[in-house]
């Protein structure tokens, strides 16, 4: 499927075009290919991700959606034997270029993982970790960052009286919001979320979804989800991945009500995946 064609198709949509004009790109992916050894995991991916939006990436298991989101902060490099070609521009600079320092990139682009992964430290230390490694030592500033981040992740009221307690004492849902708060503490530009609610119960999931709606005012959010209802509920734009290719990418309302590609329609209506 020619993705450039898709892009121009969606640009014909007047409403979409309006948003295009107002909003800036954070990421511009051009002809991205990725191999795990000899497995071709991403094939000619072209995607433009917009500022202050929630972009959902959906698709069946093994379609490359997690691989793609991990390329956006180059966490994919931790997998041995990964090769890439093509370009990912973040705010106009190619992050796949060797001269782009990963530490620098990841200061701008935070990530929330599938399984809550707080450090076995106190709640306070979990949040202060990011600012500390970037050299912020002033106790008063750190205190403020911790409170602001926990408030930002809507968990402050639940933990404010036990900041010194170990984060492992929190419930799974609280741990995940703590991880989101930890991510906010470095004041990133983009937040990547790799199936952030797949390990959570429905109520915790709802809280995280509400939180994502709140966060998109200040951050650009890219979320991988295997839950289509979730994508429909919370995202502004949705990309459908299949076997390493982008099949369809357009605004969420359109893709769910009126998908262009037969495969998208089949997936969305639950015929496979």
């Amino acid at each position: 499927m020619n993705v450039t064609l898709l892009r121009s198709q969606s640009e014909q949509d007047e409403k979409t075009q309006m948003t295009h004009m107002e909003k800036e790109f954070v990421y511009k992916t051009t002809d991205l290919n990725l191999w795990y050894g000899s497995t071709h995991a991403l094939k000619n991916v072209n995607l433009d991700l917009y500022e202050n939006e929630v972009t959902a990436i959906i698709g069946p298991s093994g379609c490359g959606k997690s691989t793609y989101i991990k390329t956006l902060n180059r966490m994919i490099e931790m997998v041995p034997g990964v090769k890439t070609s093509g370009e990912i521009q973040y705010r106009g600079r190619n992050i796949l270029d060797k001269s782009y320092g990963v530490e620098d990139l990841r200061t701008q682009v935070g990530m929330v993982f599938q399984k809550p992964n707080p450090f076995p430290k106190s709640i306070y230390e979990n949040i202060a970790y990011g600012p500390k490694i970037h050299g912020i030592k002033n106790k008063k500033v750190l205190d403020e960052i911790v409170e602001k981040s926990l408030r930002g992740a809507a968990i402050w009221d639940e933990v404010k009286d036990r900041l010194k307690e170990n984060a492992y004492g929190l419930s799974g849902g609280q741990q995940q919001r703590l991880c989101i708060a930890r991510c906010l503490a470095i004041e990133p530009d983009v937040i990547l979320m790799d199936e952030p609610t797949s390990a959570l119960d429905p109520i915790s999931t709802l809280k995280v979804e509400e939180l994502i709606q709140e966060l998109k005012k200040d951050f650009s959010i890219i979320i991988v989800t295997h839950n289509m209802q979730q994508a429909a509920r919370i995202s502004d734009r949705t990309a459908f991945f299949l076997s390493g290719e982008v099949v369809e990418y357009r605004d969420t309302t359109t893709i769910f009500s009126n998908p262009t590609d037969k495969r998208t329609e089949d997936y969305i209506s639950g015929r496979f995946g």
């Binding site: 530490e103 935070g110 993982f113 399984k115 992964n117 450090f119 492992y168 991880c179 930890r182 991510c183």
Partner: protein, 293 residues
């Protein structure tokens, strides 16, 4: 529906399965009992033989030709001197190697070859390390029969054990924690220092203390590098010669007078208490600082 599971066979097998279950339980209990019994006999003999010699004088006297005057002052203090060299040298080198192998080294055939060889080194007879120490530290580096030469030799001996234990501890830190740190823009060193090491330290210390207890009990490498057995002075610097507890015990057991057998038993008692103390510290660290994920 056709039933394939014959209830009669199940009923017939039931009692023999339960008997076999009991049999193996008994077998495993007997194996444990055997070890405990032998250990019990050993303790009984050593305590009845040696307890009479343990008093303040025993710790304050140097070795002597007369059993009633013999003490472990030089050996006891010498063991502490040895530990002062072995503990920092082996821990720093061992943990450093483990960090490099687990966190920095590329995961390729060469690295796994090195890891395999380190595990093998842990099984090399201690006397071989003694020969190595004699060649390198005593002769080539001309350290003579000093605390330093003995300490470095012992460090080599316990290094593989510390490396393997530290590797295990580092490997057991979940990869999700490293990812969380890297995803926030932390460098490798910051991640190792602030996330990996704090989580791995209980395992590292447990392995380290067990390795040090081994170093306390070893005799062979020290005999090879020529550490004396009869010493009536204390080392003043790490370049002085000295002796250690197992050497002193070995010396006493090889004497003709039967009284010296009892003095040796007293020395063994002191060493056992020292070892139990160190192992208890290891258990304490493991139980109280171990993090569960």
């Amino acid at each position: 529906m056709q039933k394939l599971v014959d209830k009669e066979i199940i009923a017939k097998q039931m009692s023999s399965r339960i008997i076999r279950n009991q049999m193996f339980k008994g077998l495993f209990f007997l194996s444990t009992l055997f070890g405990l019994l032998v250990l019990g006999v050993l303790f009984y003999r050593i305590i009845t033989q040696g307890i009479g010699y343990i008093d303040l004088d025993f710790f304050q006297n140097f070795a002597s030709r007369r059993p009633e005057n013999a003490g472990i002052k030089a050996a006891f203090i010498g063991t502490i001197w040895l530990m002062v060299v072995v503990a920092p040298v082996s821990l720093i080198l061992g943990v450093g190697t483990a960090i490099y192998l687990e966190e920095y080294a590329k995961k390729n055939k060469f690295t796994s070859f090195i890891k395999l060889n380190i595990s093998n080194l842990a099984g090399v007879p201690s006397i071989v390390f003694g020969l190595l120490g004699l060649t390198i530290f005593v002769r080539a580096l001309a350290l003579e029969r000093s605390v330093l030469a003995a300490g470095l030799t012992m460090s080599l001996l316990v290094l593989p054990v510390i490396i393997v234990a530290s590797q295990e501890a580092i490997r057991s830190v979940p990869k999700e924690l490293r990812e969380a740190s890297f995803a926030m823009g932390a460098t490798k060193w910051q991640t190792v220092l602030k996330v990996v090491l704090p989580a791995a330290i209980p395992g590292i210390l447990t392995g380290g203390i067990l390795a040090l207890s081994r170093a306390i009990g070893e005799t062979a490498p020290l005999i090879v590098i020529g550490i004396p057995m009869f010493v009536a002075f204390l080392p003043k610097t790490i370049m002085d010669t000295f002796t250690v507890l197992p050497m002193q015990i070995y010396n006493w057991t090889s004497r003709p007078q039967t009284e010296f057998q009892d003095v040796a038993a007293a020395g063994i008692l002191v060493m056992l208490v020292l070892l139990i103390l160190m192992n208890s510290i290891a258990v304490f660290i493991r139980n109280h600082f171990q993090k569960r994920y």
